[in-house]
Symmetry: C2
Subunit: 346 residues, 2 copies
C-alpha cells in the first residue's frame, strides 16, 4: 500500500512556479497554482518567492496540502534589470531558485510571468540545453480562425542560422503533436511570397533543408496574411520576425477592438445594439486573446520552461501549469532529444 | 490669353495609369481615373492598355475631354510572370508603356494595381533611381488608432543594409511632411524592444546612424505592438519585416472582423443588436481598411510610381491618382534628391 502510494506520488508532475513574477504577483500567481492543484491531481506545485507573502495568499484557499509547497527566495528580478547580470548576481531570487529545482531534478518544469529576458537566459544557463540543440526557441501558441498555431521562435535568438530553424521546425512539430494533440502538424516557414524563389537569404537557405526533412510535414512558405487563418500548425521563423508577428497580433487586435467599442457607443441606437451583441462579442474576442492560451514553452531544454505573459491572471497561470502535465507525460523532452540530429548546414 | 492657358495646362500633373492591372481592370481603373479628373482639375490622366476595352468603359461617363487620354498598349503582364523577364519581353504592355511615358517626361507619375513585382522592377529599370538613392523603397500608409503611419520598406529590397534604412528614414520623412502634411514626422525603427542595446545586427548597426541623422526627428525603437497605436509617423524597417507587418495587419483585421460578424449573428438577440450597430461599425472598420489609403508610393525614383492594391476599386485608384498631385506640387522628388547624402557605412 505504502509502496504503491509512493509510486503514485513519484508519477506526479512537479512544477516550480515563480510567485514573484508578473504584473499581478503574488496574488494571481498563487491563485493560479491553487486552481491547478485543485483541478488536476497529477500536479504538484513549488511556489518560489518571499515565504510570508506567498503564505498569506495561500491561507485564503482550500487545497490538497501535499500538492503545494513554498520554497523561500528573498530576491526578486525585475523587468528592467539586465538578464545575464541579474541571473548571475541574484542567486536567491524566485527565478534562480525555481530553475535550480528543475536543474536538480526536484521539479520537471518551471512557470514564470516575470522578466522574459531573465527567464530565457536563466533557463539556458541553469537548466541547460538538450545535447544537440543549438538554440532553445520560445514558442507561443497563437489563436487563429479555427484553433491555435505554434509560432517558433519568439525568443532571444536574433540573427538565427538555417540549422537553428530546422531544429525549431522539428521541436515545434513534436510539441504540437504531443502537447496540443494535432496529428502530423503542418509546418510552414514565414516568407514574403509562396513561390519557392522568394525570400531573404535565411529563408532561401532554410527552405530546401526543410523540404528534405523527412521527420516533419513541411508544406512550404506562409505569408503573414495567412497566419491568422490557421494555414499552418507550426509557423517557423527567426526570433526578430517572430517577435514582430506576436506583438503586432496583439497590437492590431487591441486597436481594432478599441475602435469597434468606440463605434458601438457613438449613437443612442448603436449603444442599444451594443448591449444586445455584447455577450456573443465578448466570447469571440476572448477566443482571439493571446493570453488565454497559457504560457509559451521554451523548448530544447533539460526540463520544461514556460514563459507566461507578464499580465497573466490566475487562469493563464493555471493553464501554463497544466500544459506541463502533457509535456511530461508525453515525454516531449525525450522525443526532442531523440529527434534532434545535427542538420547539414552550408 | 492663349499663353496663360498654355501655362495653366503645363502646370497640370500628368499621371499614367495602368488600365489593365488589378482584379477589377479595366472597369474600376477607368472609373477611378474618370472620378479623379472630374474631382481635380489639376490632373491629367493617360490610360495605358487595350484601346478598345478602355474606350468602351470611358464611353459610359462624362468628363473633361482634355484631361483624359488613351495610350494603346497591346500586351498585359500578369501576376504569375517573372517580373524581370516580363518587363524585358513585353515592351508593348500597359506597364512598360506607362513607365516609358514617365521616363520621357510625358508623365510625372505612374499608378498601377497590377503585378507588384513587375511594377517595382520596371520602375527601377525604366524610370530609374534618383542619383544617390541606393534602393527605392515601397512605402504604404497604414491606418492607426488616430490617423496613418508610413511603413517603409515593404518592397523587394530584402537583406537591406543600414545605409539603405537611413535613406528610407529620410525619404519617408520628406513624404509624410510634404504629401500627408505631418510637420516634423516622428521616425522610429522596428525593434524587439525599446532599449538601445536590443535588436538584431541590422538594427544595432542602423540605430546610431539614425540617432546621428540631423535631418529627421528620430524617436528610437518601436515595438510592433505600438504600430497600430500610431506611436510613430514613419516606421523604418527592412522589406522582409515590412512585408510581414503589412500582410499581418490585413490578416489579423480580416479574421477578427470575420469572427465578430459570426458572433453577432449567433443568436436572435445578437442579430437584432447587429442591425443596430451596423452603420457605426461599418464606418469604424472602413477606417481600418488598408485599401482606403490609396496606393503605396515607391520613393527615390525619377518620377513617382504608386502601387495600388490588387483588389483596388475606383475609389482607391482615384486616391492613388490624387496623391500624385501633392507629390508633384510639393516637389518631393527634388526634395529627396537634395536630402540624400551618401551616409557613412561600416
Amino acid at each position: 500500500m505504502k509502496e504503491s502510494l509512493g509510486r503514485k506520488m513519484q508519477r506526479k508532475v512537479k512544477v516550480a512556479v515563480d510567485a514573484m513574477g508578473g504584473d499581478h504577483s503574488p496574488k494571481e500567481i498563487v491563485k493560479g497554482a491553487i486552481e491547478a492543484v485543485n483541478e488536476r491531481e497529477e500536479v504538484e506545485v513549488f511556489l518560489t518567492g518571499k515565504k510570508e507573502l506567498i503564505e498569506k495568499e495561500i491561507s485564503l484557499y482550500h487545497y490538497p496540502q501535499e500538492a503545494l509547497h513554498v520554497v523561500d527566495a528573498r530576491e526578486v528580478i525585475t523587468n528592467d534589470e539586465a538578464p545575464v547580470l541579474a541571473i548571475r548576481k541574484k542567486k536567491d531570487s524566485s527565478i534562480v531558485t525555481a530553475l535550480n529545482l528543475v536543474k536538480k531534478g526536484d521539479a520537471d518544469a518551471f512557470v514564470s510571468a516575470g522578466s522574459t529576458g531573465a527567464v530565457l537566459v536563466g533557463a539556458q544557463l541553469i537548466v541547460g540545453r538538450i545535447r544537440g540543440v543549438e538554440r532553445p526557441p520560445l514558442a507561443p501558441l497563437m489563436p487563429t480562425m479555427n484553433g491555435v498555431s505554434l509560432l517558433i521562435d519568439c525568443g532571444a535568438n536574433v540573427d538565427a542560422r538555417s540549422s537553428h530553424l530546422v531544429q525549431f521546425a522539428k521541436m515545434g512539430s513534436i510539441y504540437m503533436e504531443n502537447v496540443v494533440g494535432i496529428k502530423n502538424p503542418r509546418v510552414a516557414i514565414v516568407n514574403v511570397g509562396v513561390e519557392e524563389e522568394k525570400g531573404n537569404m535565411l529563408v532561401k537557405e532554410t527552405f530546401p533543408l526543410l523540404k528534405n526533412c523527412n521527420e516533419i510535414n513541411f508544406i512550404g512558405s506562409i505569408e503573414a496574411r495567412e497566419i491568422p487563418n490557421g494555414a499552418a500548425d507550426v509557423i517557423v521563423t527567426e526570433a526578430f520576425v517572430g517577435n514582430v508577428i506576436l506583438k503586432l497580433y496583439e497590437g492590431v487586435a487591441a486597436v481594432l477592438i478599441k475602435k469597434i467599442k468606440q463605434s458601438m457607443t457613438a449613437t443612442a441606437v448603436s449603444t442599444l445594439g451594443a448591449a444586445l451583441v455584447k455577450p456573443q462579442l465578448k466570447k469571440a474576442l476572448k477566443d482571439f486573446d493571446l493570453s488565454q492560451y497559457g504560457g509559451a514553452p521554451m523548448l530544447g531544454l533539460n526540463g520544461l520552461v514556460v514563459k507566461s505573459h507578464g499580465s497573466s491572471k490566475s487562469v493563464e497561470i493555471k493553464n501554463s501549469i497544466i500544459q506541463c502535465i502533457a509535456f511530461k507525460e508525453q515525454k516531449v523532452s525525450e522525443k526532442i532529444a531523440a529527434g534532434i540530429v545535427l542538420p547539414e548546414t552550408i
